[in-house]
Amino acid sequence: MNNLVILPLLIPLLTGVLLIFFRKQIRVQRYVTTVSLLLLTVVTIALIHQVSVEGTQTLNLGGWEPPYGIVLVADMFALLLVLATVIVTFCCVLYGFRTVGEEREKHYLYTFIHFMIVGIMGSFLTGDLFNLFVFFEVMLLSSYILISLGGEKGQLRESLKYVVINIVSSMLFLVAIGYLYAITGTLNFADLSVRIAETGQDGLITTVAIFLLLVFAIKAALLMFFWLPGAYVVPPMAISAMFAALLTKVGIYAIFRTFTLIFYHEAVITHELIGWLGVATMILGGIGAVAYWDLRRILAYNVIIAVGFIMIGLAVFTEVALAGSIYYLIHDMIVKALLFLLGGVMIGLTGTNQLREMSGMIRNHALLGWMFFLAAFALAGVPPLSGFIGKLLTLQGAIDEGFYVMAAVGLITSLMVLYSVMKIFMNGFWGENQLSVEDEKMSTKGLLFPCAILAILSVGLGVGVEWVNVYVLQAAEVLNNPQAYIDAVLQN
């Protein structure tokens, strides 16, 4: 038992509730938000340290032993994602202070951001399938509100699609849980894993597994990404950045968790399928990223490509490839947030999404330009930066195991990613300067600071691989060895 495990959920939940009482006092809201996120960072780092020393930590809520009660499980994989979530949220919120506008802030913006964090943290930390569903809903309900908050025409149109698709997929999730409960009689991850290992994963369980994969694939934008570009284009940039960095990652996490811990017996069927879904996602996402001249859409399609790439690691299913996926997952959360925030500054300065209408911004905004350059290279996976090691390990795993097509598509789409973001860079920052300082639609005051935090982290993650490696390897080890997870949950 370790009550520290609940704190990543509890702190944002209580903060969100507290902020309901300070609706009009925006300054109070901002201070409380900042303090709570800093506190959350400290708690998470403490937890990571504890897990790295003592192994996976669990908390039986209400004191009921698993599998009878709900259990929260903090293993290294979940905690690394929790930490990345906190940092990304912190930077997006700092950025949001300057850009979102008072009207939205007065309508419970920070409350819902905190509630969304609760859902995300809960999804990462829970050890129970139905509880995962509940936390998905907490996250989704908040994200519905964050998409539509402000009530512009585009927001209402896209939020309707987003809500309908997610309600359908949530219902499918519930049905899949029903089937699984009817077959196995339990919903605790560890207990499920044990029972399926005992009876063997027959055709029925594999079917349910693929059903669950469909659900998570909709949430993670794995092939079923038709809702994503529209939904990520309409909200204010600070919120879009949070969505891009966090929401699909929860779906990815769910796929990783279920297919490494529970349904790992028929890898030839399920994991290959995941791999090919990933390949299709990468190709289609790559086409989308190359095709558009709209900055926000290019960035949104880059989110999709990354989802496909991360799945290769799971399809290969060796410790090296899984470690690569974990690296890439963490890197992608940070860099996607960074790219969206920088893109937001560019759109804010020029007042347009269209790349053809902007140029020469490097003259007045050198720091912005070079940070974007850095982020673009990190995204494509250029060696000293953070995207490199994840891609390297994943591709190494894929080639070792003979998944040549997946590796090749991974490499080709890297090129497409690089092309699409360099297109933004070259169009936006090079060329004639059309925009004098007086013509700019807003100032960059205070906006580059949160971007700089993320940029430094991205570089740090790339240069400091040696330090991060210990933690990532521990995370990959738990993913590769379900018994460690089961022991941690069921033996306490």
Binding site: N3, I6, L14, I20, F21, G62, G63
Partner: protein, 140 residues
């Protein structure tokens, strides 16, 4: 044209109390019989909705001066804090306990901390329901 709704208002002023009492009954029955915080809260909210239907909004708001959004916040906060209480005493989050207490007139009654949790649920349900209904009706 103003309709004459004296019958509706008279019946409402009596039946609202019956519904409120029933809601309270359902709430307290929850531990051993069907009922509980959620359904109790919904029934309480239905009494309030009936008041809003029978009388106009200004009249009811003069009588019941509650900001339902705040009420929701208090409810969620209370439910969470019952879990935090267990944490502070060194138990796992959300651990609940109970005690049999002898009251002078009523006899032995079981007091459980999960009732506090349910109070939070009820307040959140009442607050959320009323917020939804009132915000829809305000602009119409």
């Amino acid at each position: 044209m103003k309709t004459n709704d004296v019958i509706l208002q008279t019946i409402t002023s009596i039946s609202a109390f019956i519904i409120l009492a029933f809601g309270a009954y359902l709430f307290f029955a929850g531990h051993h019989d069907p009922g509980g915080g959620f359904i109790g809260g919904l029934v309480l909210a239905s009494a309030l909705v009936l008041l809003y239907l029978a009388f106009d909004m200004e009249t009811v708001q003069q009588g019941i001066r509650i900001d339902y959004k705040i009420l929701t916040g208090i409810g969620v906060g209370l439910s969470t804090l019952t879990g935090v209480g267990a944490m502070l005493l060194g138990f796992p989050f959300l651990t609940h306990t109970f005690e049999y207490v002898d009251f002078p007139f009523f006899g032995e009654i079981e007091l459980a901390t999960s009732v506090l949790f349910e109070v939070g649920v009820s307040l959140a349900v009442v607050g959320a329901t009323m917020t939804i209904i009132l915000s829809i009706s305000e602009d119409a």
